[in-house]
């Protein structure tokens, strides 16, 4: 297998290489002998047996003695002043213990802050006070001896609303004289950012050979973990603190949010996380309901539990992705992209989520639109618009699926205009292998990737035919078949520098890891990330076992308890394996050095000559002369008197890693068949070529890619949370909100390229979100390729009715004539 000397990257499709960017040797790097390494192997997950046996412990499986159950009274209208709330009728419902409104807790809430002048600070109250701003907003809470009784109680609570006109969409929110969602936020603009990069943008666009305009928009969707949100709070009298069991991705952030809201020291709140049944971003923010649970347990001195039901999840759990992009791209005569001007609007809903704020979508959309392309001139306005809908929170990929949809649509429309193919136009604009590190137009510095090889590999796998006339007519009478591509770069594991640049008042990014070896030689690793399906107990153990030369089953993961693990930021934004994995590599490096020094003392050798492998320490070259790592651990703890004063006396290291940013890349390609009689879309083939650097466990990488792609297929074809003109949610069940099933998805063909990064101790880049990022664009482009000459779709989800409308509109307007409907983006300027 060929390895590029400059980058250390292996070439060729389906490459799986156990490469380390660092040389093996006395610097503490693990052995490069593949037989001695766990990293790179498709190791079966250590998490699986107990989960498969139904022995997982999820939030609702916890039920301390005396637990009370919580149900929320939620707003039934989208915008209203609250005239009155009377919870007293609930108190006579059998089983109900108590009921409260906002004032009973001192009007607590969450306020996310971006320290930038374009940001409007608003508070998300835990329970509504004088106003409700979306259907589903919690207004009152009922506590009872069973969940059934608590729900009975909510039905007895009386709320009087004085309705005001709701603001239900982006256009309505931005209209002159629109009602205000927040009295203090003029124009309903929670954030309005204008950025410009490069000189003479207007002149460049005016003089360009081709100027192409596209508009795309994406429907509102939700992460929909199969386990909804859930919290159990109890008061630990001995420690005099709240213990909040939370189905969360971010235990320390929850601790901060709860402590701030309740006016407590962080040490007065302990957050403990059981098994988590999926999150995908919805659980990486602090929920109003968990503030209420924490406040309730303090007030009642009883355990209180809330478990979201699916209807609540669909109508009041955090949502995402309702965005609109208008792009103008200037191209050279040969298809070289010269400049992009973008106008982006994100429908934020009623509140900014804590702690990321609405900026998480608005800023990411603006900053990451340029993607993997060489672009030197870029101007963007990106707005976060308040509406009377459920607030948004990050969802896998956040704004990248939409930004990729926009720029990839631009590429396809431009290619057709210029008369070249979709692969050819991308080839002309992708950053080349010899240009890394590449500082892009907004200043992000891409580490080495395989942008062009990924595209070439994907195109070849799908049988793409170069030079075919892109304006060719559809085959008469045959099925409408189309092929579409999406190229993207995935910034992963934002460090403090990246989050700081957003001007968040709380800046996440670093991670700490403690690696502790006990007297028996077994290892415990403690991190602030929170595995909830990603298999960290396996992958982290692979990293640590390589460094310490121990077997995988000697390494255990401790996570999800703020009293047990170092401060960290949790699992989101494709950060865990990069940030915590990096800290773990550093910590275990240092612990390995301690073991080598102890071994040097015991074996009377030089520490630099000691090899750690297969659970033994031995002098390099003479494996028979050695000692078990467990014996070194015993000596370090139980016979420290035999060691020099600076050795042993415990074996524990903490290390930190703050990623500077590393960039995965991929090309997704889809072949779809569109039925012109029904408008239905079937995915015939799906190929992804991805490069996330060193793969610690390729099986888990494949699983993340596949899962992300199917979520992307859902948002491309099926999923949408629909609101009516009054702001009433219409998608309140899984019969209305369509999640893909096994019959909706193709076999996903995954190819790996492996360009290790020199920016992380492991050589790994993050990859948790990529699947979801590329799929909508690849599918939209494929559908439009299938519809060539018969119309186009510019919005996801692409419903059968959208396809039929596109065909009807095109037929009605006559072939070749400019289309006169607002959904078009084929018109030239």
């Amino acid at each position: 297998m060929a390895v590029d000397a400059a980058t250390g990257r292996t070439g060729g499709a389906s490459a799986t290489v156990h490469g380390s960017p660092r040389p093996d040797g006395a610097d503490g790097a693990p052995s490069s002998d593949p037989d001695l390494r766990w990293v790179g192997r498709r190791v079966q997950r250590v998490e699986d047996p107990y989960l498969l046996a139904g022995r997982g412990v999820f939030l609702d499986d916890l039920e301390p003695r005396g637990t009370l159950h919580v149900a929320f009274v939620r707003a039934t209208v989208a915008a209203a002043a609250i005239s009155s709330v009377d919870v007293s009728p609930a108190l006579s419902v059998p089983g109900v213990v108590a009921a409260f409104t906002s004032g009973d807790f001192g009007d607590i809430g969450l306020t996310a802050v971006l320290e930038r002048p374009e940001f409007a600070v608003t508070e998300m109250p835990a329970l509504a006070r004088d106003r409700v701003r979306h259907v589903g907003e919690p207004v009152a809470v009922v506590v009872a001896t069973s969940p059934y009784a608590a729900e009975d109680g909510t039905e007895a609570v009386l709320v009087d609303y004085d309705e005001t006109p709701p603001v239900v969409g982006i256009d309505a929110a931005l209209a002159d004289g629109a009602p205000l969602v927040h009295a203090g936020v003029p124009g309903n603009l929670l954030l309005d950012v204008s950025l410009s990069f490069g000189d003479d943008i207007d002149a460049c666009i005016e003089s360009a050979a081709h100027v192409v305009e596209v508009e795309v928009s994406t429907g509102r969707i939700t992460a929909l973990p199969i386990e909804g949100r859930a919290f159990l709070a109890e008061f630990d009298e001995r420690a005099a603190r709240i213990v909040l069991h939370s189905s969360t991705q971010v235990p320390h952030l929850v601790r901060t949010g709860v402590a701030q809201a309740l006016g407590l020291d962080e040490s007065s709140v302990r957050v403990v996380v059981p098994d988590v049944g999926g999150g995908f971003g919805q659980k990486c923010v602090v929920a109003r309901e968990e503030l209420v649970a924490a406040a309730l347990c303090r007030k009642l001195r009883r355990p209180v539990k809330w478990v979201e039901d699916r209807r609540e999840g669909l109508t009041s759990g955090f949502q995402s992705r309702e965005q609109r992009f208008a792009l103008r791209g200037a191209f050279d005569v040969d298809g070289t992209l010269l400049a992009v001007e973008a106008d982006i609007c994100c429908d934020i809903g009623a509140y900014s989520c804590f702690p990321f704020s609405c900026g998480v979508e608005v800023l990411m959309a603006a900053n990451e639109l340029p993607g993997p392309y060489r672009l030197r001139r870029y101007r963007v306005r990106s707005r976060g618009v308040a509406t009377n809908k459920v607030p948004i929170a990050p969802y896998r990929g956040v704004s990248r699926p939409q930004a990729v949809l926009a720029i990839e649509r631009l590429m396809d429309v431009a290619a057709a205009r210029i008369g070249i193919g979709p692969v050819e136009i991308r080839e002309r604009n992708l950053v080349g292998d010899d240009e890394f590190p590449y500082r892009n137009v907004v200043g992000a510095c891409y580490d080495a990737g395989s942008y062009r090889e990924a595209l070439a590999t994907c195109a070849e796998a799908l049988g793409y035919r170069r030079g075919e006339d892109p304006s060719r007519s559809p085959r008469p009478g045959g099925p409408l078949v189309g092929m579409g591509f999406a190229c993207f770069v995935e910034p992963t594991a934002y460090g403090t520098a990246s989050f700081g640049a957003r001007k968040m008042s709380i800046v996440p990014g670093y991670e700490q890891a403690t690696v502790r070896m006990d007297a028996s030689g077994s290892v415990v690793v403690m991190v602030g990330t929170l595995s909830h399906g990603q298999g960290h107990a396996t992958t982290y153990a692979q990293i640590v076992a390589d460094h310490l030369g121990v077997e995988l089953d000697r390494v255990r993961l401790v996570q999800g308890d703020t009293t047990a693990v170092p401060h960290g930021w949790g699992t989101f934004a494709s950060r865990s394996l990069v940030a915590a994995g990096g800290a773990l590599a550093k910590a275990s490096d240092e612990l390995a050095e301690q073991l080598r020094r102890i071994a040097g003392h015991v074996l009377e050798g030089t520490p630099a000559d000691i090899e750690l492998a297969h659970g033994r320490a031995y002098v390099r070259g003479t494996p028979t002369v050695g000692v078990a790592v467990g014996e070194l651990a015993r000596v370090a703890h139980h016979a420290a008197n035999t060691l020099p004063p600076d050795l042993g006396r415990g074996l524990e290291v903490i290390a930190r890693f703050d990623p500077e940013g590393t960039y995965s890349n991929a090309t997704h390609g889809a072949v779809v068949e569109v039925d012109p009689e029904t408008g239905s879309v079937a995915i015939r083939r799906y190929v992804v070529v991805e490069d996330c650097g060193v793969m610690v466990n390729p099986m888990i990488v494949d699983g993340q890619v596949s899962g992300g792609i199917v979520q992307g297929i859902g948002s491309a074809l099926f999923e949408e949370l629909v609101y009516d003109e009054n702001g009433q949610p219409l998608s309140g069940s899984l019969m209305d909100y369509m999640v893909p099933t096994a019959t909706d998805v193709p076999v996903i063909e995954i190819h790996h390229l492996e360009t290790p990064t020199d920016r992380t101790p492991t050589g790994a880049k993050g990859m948790g979100e990529g699947g979801a990022i590329g799929a909508p664009a690849a599918i939209l482009n494929a559908v439009n390729d299938a519809l060539r000459g018969r119309g186009s779709v510019t919005r996801t989800p692409i419903r059968p009715s959208d396809v039929m409308t596109a065909i009807a509109v095109h037929d009605g307007s006559g072939r070749g004539a400019p289309m006169a409907v607002p959904t078009t983006d084929e018109g030239a300027t």
Binding site: L52, A53, I226, G278, D309, S706, V710, T741
Partner: protein, 167 residues
């Protein structure tokens, strides 16, 4: 309190008698009255299938069945399958094929697929896809689940060919 009624059923081979409100679902009674928390509740309206259990050998949504309807019947939950140290062939195949990530939907799939594999000796890929489409998984994209069922069927077929007397 609301009136309760007495229900007797066989759960994982053991007689169980509970006193529950008539409105309590079988899922809630299995989980909260009998402590069998391996059965999970994902939607409470019969779509996601996380709560799937076997009633008299057939896969049912335990969120759509009242516990009182299980009177006199035999219920099997994920706890009736293999243990962490001794997984069933289907559980083992799910591990091999990375058919689970967070593991929340997994018990429902296991019960659905256990019933399916008991009925179908040699399922086609299309039949496998159809039955996997009964339930929702948000993590895996179903690829590993499809492979796992195929693997169990193939391994069983191979074993059957080696030992025809057992068929």
């Amino acid at each position: 309190m609301n009136p309760t009624t007495t229900v007797s059923m066989t759960v994982n081979g053991t007689e169980a008698t509970v006193h529950v409100e008539p409105r309590h679902t079988l899922a809630d009674v299995l989980r909260h009255d009998l402590g069998l928390t391996g059965t999970h509740v994902g939607c409470e309206h019969g779509i996601c299938g996380a709560c799937t259990v076997l009633v008299d050998g057939s896969a049912v949504r335990s969120c759509l069945m009242f516990a009182v309807q299980a009177e006199g019947r035999s219920v099997e939950t994920v706890e009736s399958l293999g243990t962490p140290d001794d997984l069933s062939p289907l559980q083992e195949a799910c591990r091999t094929e990375h058919a689970l990530q967070c593991g929340f939907c997994t018990p429902g799939f296991l019960m659905m697929l256990t019933a399916f594999l008991a009925e179908r000796d040699a399922p086609t890929d299309e039949e496998i896809r159809e039955v996997v489409a009964s339930n929702l998984c948000r993590c895996t994209g179903y690829q590993g689940l499809l492979r796992a069922v195929r693997r169990v069927a193939d391994e069983r077929g191979a074993a059957g060919r080696r030992q025809p007397a057992q068929a």
